[in-house]
Structure formats: structure tokens, C-alpha cells
Amino acid sequence: MAEVLVLVEHADGEPKKVTGELLTLARELGEPAAVFTGAPGTYAKAKAYLAEYGAAKVYVVESDDVAEYVGAPIAEVLAKLVGDAAPTAVLVAATADSREIAARTAAKTDSGLIWDAVAVTGDLVATQGVFGGSTIVQSKVTKGTPVIVVRPNSTAPVAAPGSPAEVTVDIAISDVAKSAKIVDRVAEAKSGRPDLTEAQVVVSGGRGLGAAEHFALVEKLADTLGAAVGASRAATDAGWYPHQNQVGQTGKTVSPQLYIAVGISGAIQHRAGMQTSKTIVAINKDPEAPIFEFADYGLVGDLFNVVPQLTDEIEKRKG
């Protein structure tokens, strides 16, 4: 069976849930071969997880060259593996970094690129939601090795424990790929909550919150649900919440089981980032707010009354 390459998505070696999703998907398309790229010493943290989710092989590149420059070095690794291993496809998560790496890989290998797939069938037909999810498209790569960028939360990760063969990739990253140097990394966002794009539940706040400190209401509700916190652009522009948490056309695209919009009007650009959520709940005091046109459950009321009551009620039910 031919290999299906999966670029491992990780933070300092800790694999992200989407990696398990991609490996699960890859198992249906061929023999899953994980590609781990990271700084020296990071692979050890990913090893068990990749075995757990059924990687048959792991290609490992541990070097500062792949960790300290934007995009291009990892694309060189993938392009080399496409040449050496002749895989059926390359699967990459739809994160800001990885979609760029996918694009460069496709360019290097003269292959077709599909982004934001939510499903891929055995004959490599990908399903995409385009125009913010309003049109569903089936598409297929017709040239080279399909490079497919897959949305997080598209497949449920299923464990299939094995013991992958480890292959150290022998590659010298070119100078031109080492031209955009990452000289510092600055953490701004508060964490401890799940990743926005991976979370099963997202609670987002908008202009209706009125002030940065009122985001505490949203955070408290999120924490009772084990949810990630999102924000509308009005809220991030006002500086009430970090822009990394922005949901929408120019923010993150999320597709959780449950999305709760608090004081968000539901502008088309916000909708573009969340309308594929399984269930949408909206709290807004304006009955005419567009969000009510596509919410599964809409509560017309003042969020300052509704949200604390909802938080308490969930706590109570949890016992």
C-alpha cells in the first residue's frame, strides 16, 4: 500500500488533536506515514501519540533549520519525501502555518492543492465548503501528488495503536529556504483553555459585552463547558480580547459541536468563520440581529442577565 504523508501538527513536540484526525483519515487512504519536523529534542514528546494513532512510519527531521525559519524548510522536507516515497497524497492541517507549507510543497512538486477539505474519500475526492460554507464542492487533484489541507474537527480521531518504523530524513535545508528567520516568539494569549480551532465547544463574545472586563462572563461560561473562548472582530479591534481569538473571515475558522455567540450580531464576515458549527446558540438583546437567522437556539435578552444564569445552571446540572 502506498504511503499517505501526514504533516504532524505540534507545539514544541506535543501533538495537536488534528494530527490524530489526519492519521485517522490517512488510514482510509493508504499507509499513514507521519512527518515530524521540529527543534532538536522535541520528537520524543510526539512519539507515543503517533504510535497510538496508527502511524505505520514516522519520518523525523529534528533540527533548528526546520524550526527557526518560516515555512520554506518544512516544504523542502515534504517535497523531498514526495519525491523519495511517491505517496498517494500529502495531508496537512488547515492552520495558518501549515496551509502555507502545503502550498509551497504543491508548487515544488508541481502538484495540485486543495484547501479546507472537510472530507476525503478513498479515490481522493475532497469535499470543501466554499463561500463561508454556503456551497459544497467536490474536487480532485489532477496533477502530481495531491496536497490536501484538511480542516480541524473534520474527522473524529480514532486510536489504532502500532509501532511505527522511524526514519531519520537526511536533508540539508537550502539557503534560500532559510531566509525568513524567526528571531523571537512572544506569547500574548492566556491559555489553559483548548485551542480555538480544535475545541468541541466555543463561547465567543462580541461588542455587546461593552468592555474588556466583561469578557470574564464569557470565560466563566467557557470554563464550565471546557470550551475555548472566541471573539468577534469588533471585540478584538477594541482591544478587549487578543486577536488570536478572533473568529471569522479574517480570524479563525471553527467547526465545534457547539458554538455560543454572546453579544455578536452575526455579520457575514463573522458567520464565515463559524457557520459550519454543529449547533449554534445566540444570546442577543436585538431580536433583529442577523445571527438569529442561522442560530439553532436564539435567546433574545440581556447577556448580563442570561449568561450568569446559564453558567450557574450548567454548574448545577453538573452537580
Binding site: 515555512g71 509551497r104 467536490q138 480532485k140 465547544v201 479574517t250 431580536p287 442577565n305
Partner: protein, 261 residues
């Protein structure tokens, strides 16, 4: 500084976007079209860099004849000149082909800095900056929320958005910069700007003029194909209830009934 900024004409954000029934490419004919909103931020950043360091801003677009409207807008904001790559043969090009075509045009302009926006609102690829860097063999400084150029030292640095903050990324010029909309506040074209735009130099190129091989461009040569396209089942609005002092409890009831809590 010789700055190139890419812009793209897209269906209006508020228009109901469709794929053409026959060839399943984005329908750019039956809808109102505008400059991709994000590109306004790219143009603004190019103008700011020019204002700080001197030089010239050239707008580059690939698109049908009427994409010239978008060029005019960029010129009326203050860009100096423009190149419009337009040819029926280019219709249906995918991102990979578009990047190859744009790279060819851009390379001929020998820029110090290429500025793109992080995403166009039609296909939402978010890949053009990376692809242009790849094709041009230049540093990729995409996802920038802040750009600092030092022409004397031949350096450029950005704050690149990251999941939990940002990275500081540095490179030598020339480079490709991709901007996000947090970077600035785009200016509106002034009346004077609109009048002046009409007289600014505009070069129109066919695929052949740009040195593109006819067999490599357009829908027939694209590396991926759309097999089928259908409207998503419309999202029905669900239950709407008014808060009567028990709104939070009601939502909790709904969530419990859906087994979400």
C-alpha cells in the same frame, strides 16, 4: 523603495457568491465586484512605506478586463502605476498557476518589496504570499500585523501572527510581505486621488506579453478540478425565545436536550 502590491477583484462581500454553472469557476460576471477588502490593507501598507522611505508603488493584478476597476481604486488611494495581466486564456487558473503568472510579472519589475494580503475573500486560499515567495525565491514574511523596513540596511522585519502571540521574523530585502487586517486603517481615495488615478500609467499584458506558455495557464491546465458543486443545505433558523427572567435556564434546558451538557 520599489514596492509591488498585489490586488484582486472579488465578488462583493455582501453578494451571494456562486460558482458558474458550466465550468464551476467563481462567477465574477453576474455579481457586483469590489477590491478584495484585505487588499486595501496591503495597498495602505505599501503607501505608508513609500511615504516613510520614498520610492514608488506598482499595483499588479491578474483578472478579467473589468478588474481594472480595482486597479483604479488602488491608484486613487495613491499607488503610482499599475500592471494588469488579463487574457481570456487565464480564466479558471488555480492558485498555483496564478502564482506562477504573477511571479513572472512581478519579477520583471525587480521590486525591493512585494506586498500581498493574507487572504482573498472569494476562494479564501490564504496561500498567495507563500506561493509568490516560493516562486520568486524570496523570504516569506506572511501573516504580518506589523512591518518595519530599513532600506539602508536592506532589512525588513515583521510581527507574524502565531497561535498564542506573535513571532518576530527578519529577512533581507527583497522580500514578500503578507499583511493581515490588523496592520493599519486603509485610507479612502480622495476626490483628487480619483481624478489623478485616471492619468496614471497602466500597462496591460496578455499571457503572451508576460511570457507565459499558453499550455500552462487557464482551466484546462489547472492542477485540480471541481467535480461537483451544490448549495449547502440552508441553515434553518431554529427556536427563538425571549428572556423572561429564565433565559439562562432555558438555554441550559436546550443544551441538555441536545446532550451537549
Amino acid at each position: 523603495m520599489n514596492i509591488v502590491v498585489t490586488v484582486k477583484q472579488v465578488p462583493d462581500t455582501w453578494a451571494e457568491k456562486k460558482l458558474d454553472a458550466a465550468d464551476k469557476t467563481v462567477d465574477r460576471v453576474s455579481v457586483d465586484n469590489v477590491m478584495n477588502e484585505m487588499d486595501e490593507y496591503g495597498v495602505e501598507e505599501a503607501l505608508k512605506i513609500k511615504e516613510a522611505h520614498g520610492g514608488e508603488v506598482t499595483v499588479v493584478t491578474m483578472g478579467p478586463a473589468k478588474a481594472v476597476e480595482t486597479i483604479r481604486k488602488a491608484l486613487s488611494m495613491g499607488a503610482d502605476k499599475a500592471v494588469h495581466l488579463t487574457d481570456d486564456a487565464l480564466h479558471g487558473s488555480d492558485a498555483l498557476q496564478t502564482s506562477a503568472a504573477l511571479a513572472k510579472v512581478i519579477a520583471s519589475l525587480s521590486p525591493d518589496l512585494v506586498i500581498t494580503a493574507s487572504e482573498a475573500s472569494d476562494a479564501r486560499g490564504g496561500v498567495m504570499g507563500a506561493l509568490l515567495a516560493e516562486r520568486l525565491g524570496l523570504p516569506q514574511l506572511t501573516q504580518a500585523r506589523k512591518v518595519t523596513v530599513d532600506p539602508g540596511a536592506g532589512k525588513v522585519a515583521i510581527e507574524r501572527l502565531a497561535d498564542n502571540g506573535y513571532s518576530l521574523v527578519e529577512a533581507s530585502l527583497p522580500a514578500v510581505v503578507g499583511v493581515v487586517e490588523k496592520i493599519n486603517q486603509p485610507r479612502y481615495p480622495s476626490f483628487k486621488g480619483i481624478m489623478a488615478a485616471k492619468k496614471k500609467p497602466l500597462t496591460t499584458l496578455s499571457a503572451g506579453d508576460a511570457g507565459l506558455d499558453a499550455g500552462s495557464v487557464g482551466l484546462a491546465a489547472a492542477a485540480s478540478t471541481v467535480l461537483d458543486a451544490n448549495p449547502a443545505p440552508p441553515r434553518q433558523s431554529g427556536t427563538i425565545v425571549k428572556d423572561e427572567g429564565d433565559g439562562g435556564t432555558k438555554i441550559a434546558g436546550f443544551l441538555a436536550a441536545q446532550k451537549l451538557i
